[in-house]
């Protein structure tokens, strides 16, 4: 079984809104870069499949050479190899076309796992586009995966519950977070070993982007109007809060 996980390096997604700054239309370059949150859930899911079924696990990314040291975390967690397609586009069609290059190079990948959405553009589009380009099944928000005689049984989490789905053949799955795929923290020895693993760098391609013009990106104004209530006497504060909520007709 051969599995590939798509991992994107993004600016620190935990920067609070008050400290967030743009340079042009994108996050300022001063923020620490890291693997996207959901991509780490996908890596963890991939490692668990590797451990369960003896699969090989390739980490595939589209980005810049500077991302390599950050992507090595995925190897330290348990990935076998790292494949980076070089390029700078943010267009989902261009990204998917480039990820496809690396996946074809890996040959006969059975399952491609992606994060539910990238942690910078928050889009949830690239994986579906890629699945269509590869001509395979795509399912979103998967939390568990099992393989049984050439068939896959997966659990999909949706807004009002979950469902078990089954299919055969190759697929791209977007992985959501669940208590079972909380990303493991790699051991120091694994981090050291990951530094020595070779990285395959591939030249990117100019695929046609979608016909959309990005007009502008702005930071919305956050007006802070918090009224702090006293905390000496909680009974009193509670009554005061309920009175204020009624006064302002929220309750």
């Amino acid at each position: 079984m051969k599995i590939a996980v798509l991992a994107k390096v993004v600016p620190d997604y935990e920067v609070p809104a008050g400290d967030f700054e743009l340079a042009g239309n994108r996050a300022h370059a001063r923020y620490t870069r890291m693997i996207g949150l959901y991509d780490e859930n996908a890596i963890e899911t991939g490692i668990q499949l590797k451990e369960k079924y003896g699969a090989t696990l390739g980490i595939v990314s589209y980005g810049q050479s500077e991302d390599v040291p950050i992507l090595r975390k995925a190897i330290a967690m348990g990935g076998d190899s790292l494949h980076l397609v070089l390029g700078e586009s943010d267009d989902p069609y261009v990204i998917a076309s480039n990820l496809k290059i690396a996946l074809e190079q890996l040959q006969d990948v059975d399952l491609v796992l992606a994060g539910q959405q990238s942690a910078d553009l928050d889009r949830g589009v690239v994986h579906g586009v890629l699945a269509e380009m590869l001509g395979c099944t795509f399912l979103a928000q998967i939390s568990r995966i099992e393989s049984d005689q050439g068939r896959w049984t997966v659990c999909q989490n949706h807004e009002s519950g979950s469902r078990m789905l089954q299919f055969s053949g190759k697929a791209v799955l977007s992985i959501t977070s669940s208590p079972e795929n909380v990303p493991r923290i790699p051991a120091v020895r694994a981090i050291m070993a990951a530094k020595k693993k070779p990285v395959e760098k591939l030249q990117g391609t100019d695929a046609p982007p979608m016909q959309v013009e990005e007009v502008k990106v702005e930071i919305p104004k956050l007006e802070s109007v918090c009224e702090f209530l006293p905390f000496e006497d909680m009974q009193e504060t509670s009554r005061m809060l309920l009175a204020r909520l009624r006064e302002e007709r929220y309750l």
């Binding site: 016909q211 959309v212 502008k216 956050l222 309750l251």
Partner: protein, 295 residues
Amino acid sequence: MKTLIIEKIEPKRIGELVTVGRILGETPDLLALGEGEVPGTYPRAYQCPETIAANLVDGVADLIQRDGYQVVLLSATTLGSEIAGRLGARLKAPVLSEVIEVKPDMTVKRPLYGGKAVAEYKIQGNPVILTIRRKYFEPAPLEGTTAAAVFNVESPSVVLLSEEQVQTQGVRLEDAEIIVSGGRGMGSADNFEVLREMAGLLRGAVGASRGAVDEGWASQTMQVGQTGNIVAPAVYFAVGISGASQHLAGIANAKCVVAVNKDEEANIFKRARFGVVCDYHKFIPALIQALREEQ
């Protein structure tokens, strides 16, 4: 713009998409997914019992090409994200997800960076596929029902083995006017009991942050935020929630946020109308007591 809505038979979701469709032109056509009567009236309506997106893409792509739809509207839900990317790639159409503003000249806005920025796009090509973030558009009232033409799925590739709907006691999170949400600061699953009690007294629903869901203290259907439920209650109580931008993205349209957090620097206070800086163990029982006294 000739527009097609693809949505499950859920009046509020369909209503929001009708509102968006009317910004771009006349009342759109509808492909309703699932069983039951199709609410509202449309120039044309189709109905298909299938709700697995993977099985719908082929037929939907044919329909769009055959009837020349220029805009396809979906909600930004599991179903929407499952269809949008594949359909876009099939039709070589632009795909914009999580859209929060639409103008008649085909400019749209969507958040980036967990809502810390908002991007504006001008769409040039068509057809275009848009997924619309919930609760940003007032749902159009759907009057009457429409006799829909049958839409068939040929050779489905994905099979549904079982379905589990999480039963919510009382009010549904997405419809609730009052929501009491707990975060990682709750400390355990058992501690959510006080939030349930409080929500019960307020006739509200209980929500959670991703932090609490990842800990396994709350079900994923309770998650509020960018990748959970987008909600718009009158009052949102955030208890032991730090206020990460991705969480705030889910409550952008809440009218009043009440934050209870022991860290006075917590970001949630920047969004809150009322704040109580303290350990929730002290405050929530007192609030429950005050609510009981009122009854």
